[in-house]
């Protein structure tokens, strides 16, 4: 405030409170009262209950409070920011847990079952009989069916 300016209403209120305090009247709890209490502690650290370091810490904490008693902007933003960060971390963790629990490896493509003729020809070969002449054709036919099923899922570049 410049000396040629009229005091603001807030300054007038603070001045009234200060004069009452100097006259011994107890102030209602508020920023002015807290600042004065801290000032007292700083001025009389030996008499007070706090060490000078502790008193300084108290003063710094109070200094971070705006005149109307709300936290200073930097401090006011901090709890919200930490809350948001915490919530985001929790959400990310929960999402990861759900994905890990329920996703698993990608599912295989449902393939057509082999035909009876192919299985019979395979069984003959496994039992020591000579390979049936149609076996190679049956293998190729089944292979083509499986490849078609895979192409239906993945597409096929031409």
């Amino acid at each position: 405030m410049r000396p040629d300016q009229e005091p603001t209403p807030a300054e007038q209120r603070d001045a009234v409170r200060l004069s009452r305090l100097l006259e011994g009247e107890e102030l209602a709890p508020g920023p002015v009262a807290e600042e004065l209490a801290a000032a007292r502690l700083l001025l009389h650290p030996v008499r007070g209950e706090l060490t000078p370091e502790r008193a300084t810490a108290v003063w710094q904490r109070i200094a971070a409070v705006t005149p109307d008693g709300r936290p200073a902007p930097a401090d006011r933003a901090r709890p919200g920011r930490w809350l948001a960060l915490g919530a985001a971390t929790l959400a990310a963790g929960a999402t990861a847990a759900v994905l890990l629990t329920f996703s698993g490896p990608p599912a295989a493509t449902p393939l057509p079952p082999p035909g009876l003729a192919l299985l019979t020809a395979q069984a003959k070969l496994a039992q020591g009989e000579p390979a049936p002449p149609e076996l190679e054709h049956l293998r190729q036919a089944y292979r083509a069916e499986v490849h078609a099923a895979l192409a239906a899922r993945y597409g096929r570049d031409r």
Binding site: A107, P114, Q127, A151, R153, D157
Partner: protein
């Protein structure tokens, strides 16, 4: 920019393009499951044609080229296993036809190392292994391989029969 600096920059640019083409970044078709399947069909057909005309080495080369990609262009692991076991089986049968029993049994082992899912390619690999081992005089091992092939075969037949022998529907691919 000085002319000599421009010349160096141009040379560097040409080198970069040449290395990209050399690495296949510009010349090859894009990789991926669809591209792999297209190649599988074309190269597989080429192998079958070569086999039909008796050119077994050409057929083998084609199948070996398909086996070069262990990831099958990015197919799901179970699908890739099916395809690769089938390719190992095809290649093994060709080797066996040429009298290379040891190579054939090695290919069967490589295929089975991917897992025994109890499906047609697995049964084929056990059969191939049995025949290759029999060709090497290892009859006991061959008998065990045939036995496993028959087990798979019996189970697949059982799955097929409840539907009255009809060949329809889709089986899961384990």
């Amino acid at each position: 920019m000085k002319p000599s600096t421009r010349g160096q920059a141009a040379r560097l640019g040409l080198l970069l393009v040449a290395s990209l083409v050399g690495d296949g970044c510009l010349g090859d078709p894009p990789a991926g499951p669809a591209a792999f399947l297209a190649n599988l069909e074309q190269t597989g057909n080429r192998a079958a044609q070569a086999q039909a005309r008796g050119d077994l080495p050409a057929a083998e080369r084609a199948l070996e080229a398909l086996l070069a990609d262990p990831e099958c262009g990015g197919l799901v692991a179970a699908d890739c296993r099916w395809v690769r076991q089938d390719l190992f089986g095809r290649l093994g049968w060709l080797k066996l036809r040429r009298g290379a029993a040891v190579e054939a049994s090695s290919l069967a082992d490589q295929g089975l190392a991917l897992g025994d899912a109890g499906d047609v390619p697995a049964a084929e690999l056990h059969l191939l292994r049995g025949q290759a081992l029999e060709g090497q005089g290892r009859d006991g091992e061959a008998a065990r391989a045939y036995h496993r092939a028959l087990e798979i075969n019996a189970r697949l037949l059982q799955e097929l029969l409840p539907a009255g022998g009809a060949e329809g529907g889709h089986a899961p691919n384990p």
